[in-house]
């Protein structure tokens, strides 16, 4: 293969197994003697536990065991702090992590109280009905502001308030800048992000093998190495005794990270106790309560500007719903705080947030991970400023873009990777230009007026964003030439559909002169690769991809060295292609990679001191900080002014994520992200009552967008290399989902002429019914 595959739309290696029903997902793991777990979960958000009686359940034929918190003995303890708070001066962080089974108190609907183990899942669920439970319900903390008011019920009494964390970060001096402003725009915004809702729910299978002293755990996790290390510690085993396998995982989007969910912690423990394999698969109802959410923030934000629309500074104070426990630290609100700044020059920034404990499911990152909230605030403030100052919406953005010669651009405040926020590279204006061109911005006003004359209501939206991607600490990869001449790659990250089996193969294929289809990739099996962090923050391709590249380069070097010894020629005279090494200009003089791999593992004879066997290398890559991708989304909608039915007529994404490995896979990531963004903006709302009950916990009521709601997305790309890694790439996994909220708000306001009618859209999600409420008293 002399053709370079890097940068080409190579079809995916993983497809065959998925298309023929042969890919192993968690619920496909079947083991002899396997038992099944089911969980009795709290049906109320906040309550004292008086009594739990499982005796009736234990009498049911087929029930093997039932456990409450006290049965766990020393194994019962709060879970680990997964992400510590960043090093920010004056930070307040009250660590309260989730427990395996609720003891004394329940803190959210769905928190597990009892684990039942039975011969089948059907019997285990039957037995849940046999459990007698007495709770005394307490007032629930649901509303963020009420939760902070005096006399509010406390999620954790010992904290003394419902403050999970408080962070204040500044850049420059906002107060001094605001004094000089010609105009100050001040609004209150509410942004709610929903649930990731992958089509495959979570699951765990744990198998303790008493004879081998070995624990194997199949887990729908994005971070198997962390799960292995954590569980080994909890179970009192050496890490080598624990193997965690993340098989094919049916979508993750964040919440399948290493949460040490109660089920993840409990199943291995029970498996050891009973010396039987145990399976638990989350059902869809459980998923709504037992898998982490990403919910809401309330922002009181103001922007100070000059008369000509230049941003002097931004002040923002916001509340962030953290849920009942805070094991994931501050990643989500820190992302909101940092991403708010976007692609714009903001000389002065003063941002403070309070993360609030509530009696609801935990909040952890979901695709975008708080970035949406920040982008919404910034983009809306710019829209209102543009209106106030009578400047075109796109022009006010253009005037504030960070100029191309200002990189690396320092935003100073601390980002989720604990580094001062610094944009590595970018060239923003061409991205905006391409998007305006593609959406037909210039011609639109005429189009809109013509449509209005026919009684049709069209509106246009434009939103910009940057995305911090590809953060450290590191990933690694082992690349190996097999004696059959094929190449094998193992890496420690998990995979949930991102195309890792193909993009990593492309990287190695180019270095080692083999076909992409001859590169076999293993991800997410801790016995195949020992170290790693995981798949999150749009980092798989950037961090693990670069590790694959480094390892492949070393293997290439070893291959050439061995062949040069064999042919007694210089390495420069050799060429690697089509699975063999040959002498330049003498193609008949060659040795296959497989033969070389065999020779690299000799059976007899002495080797030179320091010789490593095999054509193999393990390398690690860690970037100094995250690479910053950017983009612009543009959309034209048609609204029915009576029903508020919305139709997307055109959707454009122009995006810069540096050097592209596989444009087909990249496009898929963007399209899928946009679909989730559309869901967030207009269809998906977690509807809670004031007692913390989720009122729409089914897919019939919580509306994921279907093929009828998601339009065709036109994509454009620009390329600005990242200087932070040798391949020059940036992450792209979350980009599609991030700026969709402000895009909807802007386009709907435009279509329904809401500015003139005195209505501003200050919240997400919107929906037909919400638009009806917001506009019913507005003049026509």
């Amino acid at each position: 293969m002399s053709t370079r595959t890097f940068g080409e739309p190579i079809k995916r290696n993983e497809d065959r197994r998925l298309l023929t029903g042969q890919a192993l997902f968690i619920d496909d793991v079947e083991l002899p003697g396997m038992l099944h777990a089911a969980f009795l979960r709290s049906q109320v958000a906040h309550a004292k536990i008086l009594k739990i009686d499982v005796s009736q359940a234990l009498r049911r034929p087929g029930v093997v065991a039932a456990y409450v918190a006290d049965d766990l003995g020393d194994y019962w303890k709060p879970g680990p702090l997964l992400v510590p708070p960043p090093p920010i001066a004056g930070i307040v962080f009250n660590q309260r992590t989730q427990v395996p089974l609720a003891k004394a108190k329940v803190r959210h609907v769905g928190e597990p109280l009892v684990m039942v183990i039975a011969e089948s899942r059907y019997i285990a669920e039957d037995a849940l009905d046999d459990i007698n439970i007495e709770l005394v319900q307490l007032p629930a903390v649901v509303d963020l502001e009420k939760g902070l008011s005096a006399g509010a019920a406390l999620v954790h009494e010992d904290v003394g308030s419902n403050v999970s964390a408080h962070v204040h970060q500044t850049k420059g001096n906002y107060a001094a800048a605001a004094v000089k402003a010609d105009c100050i725009i001040k609004r209150r915004f509410r942004y709610e992000h929903g649930i990731s809702s992958p089509i495959e729910t979570r699951g765990v299978v744990a198998q303790w093998d008493g004879r081998a002293n070995q624990m194997t755990i199949w887990d729908t996790t994005q971070a198997p190495v962390f799960v292995r290390n954590g569980l080994a510690g909890m179970l009192g085993l050496n890490e080598r005794q624990v193997r965690v396998i993340a098989p094919f995982v049916g979508g993750g989007f964040g919440p399948k990270i290493m949460m040490f969910y109660p089920e993840e912690v409990l199943l291995p423990w029970v498996s050891m106790k009973l010396n039987r394999p145990i399976k638990w698969i989350e059902d869809r109802l459980e998923h709504f309560f037992a898998t982490t959410h990403e919910r809401g923030q309330i922002h009181d934000a103001e922007m100070a500007l000059t008369r000509d629309g230049r941003i002097l500074g931004i002040k923002d104070v916001f509340l962030h719903d953290g849920g009942a426990y805070d094991p994931y630290g501050l990643t989500v609100p820190i992302n909101s705080q940092c991403t708010l700044l976007g692609p714009y020059v903001v000389p002065n920034y003063d941002s403070a947030f309070t993360q609030v404990f509530t009696n609801q499911t935990l909040v952890t990152p979901y695709r975008g991970a708080g970035r949406q909230h920040g982008v919404f605030v910034m983009e809306r403030l710019l829209d209102f400023a543009a209106h106030e100052l009578n400047i075109d919406r796109t022009e006010i953005r253009r005037r504030n873009l960070i100029p191309a010669d200002a990189f690396p651009y320092k935003n100073e405040i601390i980002f989720q990777d604990f580094q001062p926020l610094e944009y590595d590279s970018g060239n923003y204006e061409p991205v905006l230009d391409m998007a305006l061109e593609a959406i037909g911005y210039k011609a639109f006003r005429e189009e809109q007026a013509a449509a209005r004359r026919q009684g049709r209501h069209l509106g246009i939206g434009i939103a910009c964003y940057v995305e911090g991607t590809g953060i450290g600490p590191y990933e690694g990869a082992k690349v190996q030439v097999q004696s059959n001449g094929k190449v094998s790659i193992a890496t420690g990250i998990g995979t949930q559909g991102q195309g890792h089996f193909t993009v990593f193969a492309q990287i190695a294929a180019d270095q080692l002169g083999v076909a992409v289809t001859d590169v076999d990739v293993v991800t997410g099996d801790t016995d195949q690769f020992y170290w790693g962090a995981g798949t999150f923050a749009s980092r798989g391709a950037v961090v693990a991809g670069n590790a694959v590249n480094e390892a492949s380069k070393v293997v290439r070097k070893k291959t050439l060295k061995l062949a040069s010894d064999l042919f007694e020629c210089a390495e420069e005279d050799l060429v690697i292609e089509d699975g063999k090494v040959s002498i330049v200009g003498i193609p008949e003089k060659f040795v296959s990679l497989g033969d070389l791999a065999r020779q690299a593992n000799p059976m007899r004879g002495a080797v030179q001191p320091g010789t490593e066997p095999g054509l193999e290398s393990t390398q690690y890559f860690g970037p100094p900080r995250g690479a910053t991708a950017n983009g612009v989304h543009a959309m034209i909608v048609e609204m029915d002014p009576r029903t508020f039915d919305l139709k997307i007529l055109k959707y454009v994404v122009v995006h810069d994520c540096g050097i592209v490995i596989n444009p087909m896979i990249l496009a898929g990531q963007i399209q899928g992200g946009v679909a989730q963004g559309i869901g967030n903006a207009f269809y998906e709302k977690l509807a809670f009552d004031d007692q913390g009950q989720l009122l729409n916990a089914s897919l019939a009521d919580y509306l994921l967008p279907t093929a009828l709601e998601v339009p065709r997305v036109e994509l454009g790309h620009t390329v600005t290399r990242s200087p932070l890694n040798p391949m020059g790439i940036k992450g792209a996994g979350e980009a599609g989902a991030i700026p969709v909220g402000p895009l909807f708000a802007q386009a709907i306001e435009d279509a329904l002429d809401l500015k003139r009618r005195g209505v501003e859209l200050l919240e997400i999600p919107l929906s037909p019914s919400r638009l009806f409420e917001l506009t019913r008293h507005a003049p026509r």
Binding site: K11, R12, E14, D15, R16, R17, L18, L19, T20, G21, Q22, A23, F25, D27, D28, E30, R60, P61, Y122, D126, S196, S197, P198, I199, E200, T201, F248, V249, G250, G251, G252, F253, D283, R284, Q496, G497, Q498, G499, M664, I665, A667, G668, Q669, Q671, G672, G673, V674, A675, Q676, S698, L699, A700, L704, T706, A707, L708, V710, R712, V713, G736
Partner: protein, 160 residues
């Protein structure tokens, strides 16, 4: 509690099976766990997501909304039966591969079954018709566009 078991016979992908099943066993569980045909996936167990779609006597149905015993003497097709004996793809499988119509692949078996049945009825569908037919299957990864393109392309290829 005594279970209410039944002997049943069913044909799946042309193979005849006789099994004893509890009356409340869902067809999806029966296929996956009793017959080991785990290619049929379960996403919601309330008939919304479409991942568990199979063909029952040629008609797409949601196997999570049926009991196994209701399939007595019926013919079922699942994703495992789509490709040829020597592994060659059904035109829709090929088109899904060519158009990058899948990412995590979890919803894919249900989509393949729904849309192969659709193509049996309509080999010249418009994009709107494809989207309408696809709208009962949820996919959280792809944004659907590539699936739509794959179905249209498969139709073209099947028309010959």
């Amino acid at each position: 509690m005594d279970t209410d078991d039944h002997e049943m016979t069913v044909t799946v992908n042309g193979v005849n099976f006789q099994r004893r099943v509890e009356s409340r066993t869902l067809l999806s569980d029966f296929l996956r766990h009793d017959l080991g045909l785990a290619g049929t996936h379960v996403g919601c167990e309330h008939g919304v997501c479409g991942a568990c779609t199979i063909l029952l006597d040629g008609e797409p149905v949601r196997s999570c909304l049926m009991f196994a015993v209701q399939a007595e003497s019926r013919e079922i097709s699942t994703v495992e039966g789509l490709a040829g004996i020597d592994g060659e793809y059904h035109p829709l499988q090929q088109a899904m591969h060519d158009h990058h119509g899948l990412q995590c692949g979890y919803c894919t078996p249900g989509i393949l079954m729904t849309m192969t049945a659709f193509l049996e009825e309509n080999l010249s569908p418009s994009e709107e018709q494809v989207r309408e037919a696809l709208s009962g299957n949820l996919c959280r990864c792809t944004g659907y566009q590539n699936i739509v393109d794959a179905v249209i392309s498969a139709a073209k290829r099947m028309r010959g």
